[in-house]
């Protein structure tokens, strides 16, 4: 995986090849970040696919207004970036169905390069995408874009708490097994929703593993806040097992290191035919990298634990800080200048 600028994407990856772009419309302003980045660098892409999905977001009226506003902005920008574009309705919490839909679009487009803006995909869609890329089902070059928000919602202001309506514990690949759980490992990526981790750990708890703490360049506060919010859950998890957990701080650009760290967990699990569970609640690029490596290297033992929110809060994030771009190596490595 290589970190790129949007200019690199133009010059080294797209290179005039047939390109398909996916991105999700959302109430979050950052859903437009990567597309605006592409527009600013005069990138031209053959086909755009605007993914739309239904989730419960409150307050509803204001959400509708924002969605409409973002859809209008998308149309304006899309007309400058895409030669053509279409809308595709997806299930916000689909895994296999989501993969089938994406696969069908890629096959129909005969694209050589697929750009995926994962910013406003749900985490379960992101996991499904990583599993799809890892499966090698599509022989294309993948580029992933992600927009960092200016801020996450301040949960101390929370006046309308959000609950979790279900918890999915499932394999990333089609037929992973939970054999030899006594030696199972966990890859935990804490985020800004500490309840998500608490709820997940109340269902299934790894006895050892890797804790990946995200560091966003120039935003030490985001990491501090995440650490503060997850402090109690982490303390209960590792206080008796500090030797069994490894804590690593990684930046959003360090996908190679994330890969190495996850690989290390995989090796420990593989020796005992044990599963590796992904508790991916932090920034989506890290969740995507970790899931990609797990699904690619250890499809027989890679799992995820995903609490599904009852609803989202309109003020979940604000603004767009910046967009980051990555080239994902596929089974047929792309040549880079």
């Amino acid at each position: 995986m290589k970190k790129l600028t949007v200019a690199n994407v133009n010059e080294f990856v797209l290179r005039g090849r047939k390109t398909l772009w996916f991105g999700a419309l959302s109430f979050e302003e950052r859903c437009l970040g990567a597309l605006r980045d592409a527009e600013a660098s005069r990138t031209t892409i053959d086909t755009g696919v605007l993914l739309t999905y239904e989730t419960h977001v409150t307050p509803e009226d204001a959400t509708r207004r924002l969605l409409k506003k973002h859809a209008s902005s998308f149309e304006v920008t899309a007309s400058k970036v895409f030669r053509s574009w279409k809308e595709l309705k997806i299930d916000a919490y689909g895994f296999q169905r989501f993969q089938d839909q994406i696969l069908a679009e890629i096959e129909e487009s005969a694209a050589e390069v697929v750009v995926f803006d994962i910013t406003c995909l749900t985490k379960i869609n992101t996991l499904a995408l990583a599993a799809l890329v890892a499966s090698g089902a599509v022989d294309v070059d993948f580029v992933v874009a992600y927009s960092i928000p200016e801020n996450y919602r301040n949960t101390s202001d929370e006046r309308a708490p959000i609950g979790w309506r279900d918890i999915i514990i499932a394999p990333l690949g089609e037929t992973a097994q939970l054999f030899n759980e006594e030696r199972g490992r966990g890859v935990i990526i804490p985020g800004h929703e500490p309840d998500r981790l608490v709820v997940a750990l109340a269902e299934i708890e790894p006895s050892g593993g890797l804790i990946l703490v995200a560091e966003t360049d120039q935003r030490p506060d985001l990491r501090r806040r995440s650490e503060h919010l997850n402090q109690r859950a982490m303390r209960q998890l590792i206080s008796m097992r500090s030797t069994l957990f490894r804590r690593e701080v990684v930046s959003l650009a360090e996908f190679a290191r994330v890969g190495e760290l996850v690989e290390n967990e995989i090796e420990q699990a593989r020796q005992h035919d044990a599963p590796v569970m992904l508790f991916g609640y932090g920034p989506k690029p890290l969740v995507f990298f970790a899931a990609l490596r797990l699904a690619e290297s250890y499809p027989e033992g890679a799992w995820f634990v995903y609490p599904i929110p009852e609803r989202y809060d309109l003020q979940y994030t604000s603004g767009v800080d910046r967009s980051i771009w990555y080239q994902v190596p596929t089974r047929v490595p792309a040549s880079m200048a």
Binding site: N151, R159, A170, I204, R224, P307
Partner: protein, 741 residues
Amino acid sequence: MASGVPAVAVPWTDGEKIPDRNVRDIFRRPPDLPQAFYRSSLIIGSRGVGKTTLLRYLKSTHDGVGVHISLAAEFATLGRQTVYGPLAVDIPSALEPLVMGKSTSLIATALAIRLIRKGVRGNDDLFQACLPQSLSVPTTSDEEGLLRLQRQIAKTDLEAFDGVVDSHGLPDYVSSLGRAAESSHGPLLLLLDRADMVPPVSLVPVIDLLDQSQQFTALIAMRPGHASDVIANSGEGAVAGDHYQIVHLGIRPRTEVWRDFVKSAVGAQLGHLSLETIPEEVHAMVLQLSRESLRNALELYARYLQGDGEPALRLKEAIEDMRDNQLAAAQKTLQRHHPDFRRFINESKKESLNGKAGLDGPLIISFSATPSRSLFDHSNVLDRFVDSALRGGALCMPEGQKWLPGLRPSELEVPPLFMWQEGDLPWHASASPSKLHITRAKDALSVSGGPTKPPSLFIAYRMDFESSKAFRSHLEQEMQQNPLLHQVVVKDGRVLPGENWAPVIRERIRSARVVVGDVTGARPEVVFELGFAYGLKRVVIPVVESKAAFQDVPKWLRMTQLAHYGDRSGLAGVATAVATYLHDRDLARQSHKPDAFPPRAVWLRSLPWSEQAHAQFISACGQDGMRPETYGPEDDPEIVIEKACSSSLLVATIDGTEADSLVHYICGAIVARPSAGSGPRFNRKIVLVVEADGSEAEQLIASSLIRCADIVKVVKPSGVYAEVRAHCRVYRDWSRSRGSG
């Protein structure tokens, strides 16, 4: 740790984690467990009571063929395909038979794989009846063929499984496995674990296996409350207590025999010598708070015995962590059934304490009236709440009471861990429970009880204008006559002589939910206070003296719906707006109020006399990675407010024109939240640039704003560069700092 105390091993708090070789050594037989399972059974127990360890022990000691299967693992592809998990209560009815069909195929194949490894093969025709027509039982008797079939089942669309469950073929197929096992190895014991981690409806075919008439014994383990109705109404007539027995582990957690069992089980992992060093009151507290959970007891004992610092402090921290995490998990998974479970618990506790320092026994919530089951009652919602609470350990069955599928308990106990507070003493052994009666179902499901603080309203008015003063008193009178508003506390900016008025007023605004401001003439003080309220994310209602005054209000203020107080209907409109915002929290959250974004530096209004300073601002920001943005009267006021209010550095020109009002509003919002980011403080800064000198300049700025000397600097254009550079350096150091490490 005190010297001489043996080192404590890291405990295996989950049964799944215990290595095979250690299971027999670690297992302790729970009180009330049957000596042997001669009948198929549903084993009920809350999380951590030891269900998995029991099943693993039974497998290791079974004289015959024992198969231990995690249903969570075997049915996981259902979750991947349907994205329904154990808490799913809203699976569409059309999907239910498909899920049941697929779970039939999955469990049949899982058993076939496990048993073929032991050389046991069942009847293929009966196996085929458990599969969709599109899939076939492999003809060869090797494991590889079955594993291929398992992968095919995982991939096959749900629609293909239509009709599979209707044949009810699973018990017959497993019976054929049982007969084959019996003839070659001995009786077949099926140990089906983690039934509480799969969608309830997927359990329907599994429950059929409990019918005692079959040629095997099946034990299914799960938490109470899970799939209650699904199991109770399960189609093929396997009836709890009749066709199979119910074993509920840990139903007498306060008996001496259970406590001895827990100590023995904990000692088997941590070492009995370690436990002997623990004072009796610590034992009493740990066992009381753990209730029936061996897992919790292990965790608390282990943290008491191991780590840095005083054992008592470690235990306190361990209890707090456990309580808060479990309460958070309960609150968040019960959210859709109960608006605020944590508050329900706190209020129940407060009510039962009734002035006492601490509870001296368990707290029982009692639903004394059986709710009628009409269309409009809350019974179904209450049932779901109770089932979910039992499953998640948010509530538990009272001592001595067993949970059965379909049971509608009239009493539930609040876990002692949730009731714990620092300083509590262990209960006396003979403590009798406190009972809290809830007579109506809906009372359990709403946030009630306890006096709530009346909301307050802040009125920012022009103190030196009679009409504005009259507005303030008329609005209060109007509200007193309104049944929705008569309890609202009305506050304003008047203070007693000698009081430091700025912090007093800010505190009043901070405590208000709605702020009404008379913006007639856009007086700096009033606008600043409204901005302060906006920064605190309070509802702001701007009003003017009359409709005619609308046109004199600056453009940026006219973006908001303005009310007027010039006549009775206008005043009533203001009161109605206040009532609406106070009672509709969603409406109050409509507008987006951004938090500070540390790298953002905003220059508001570049004027001819400030051009050079503006250029210096751009240059200075760029040196340290801050992002300078400039806004002026030509920009959309909504965007200007959003960006400027989220800046960590605001530089704004003040020239005594109408445009100064927007600066005051934005400054108010920044002063309300004077730091950016979280963690080590990064203070925001406002630089007000004036052309005039000294007191002349200060007259242009609201007194409230000038008083914020820690955040506000008033400078001439020549002073801008130094202020900006200083802030940028602070930003640079802050942005390069790292987390807590």
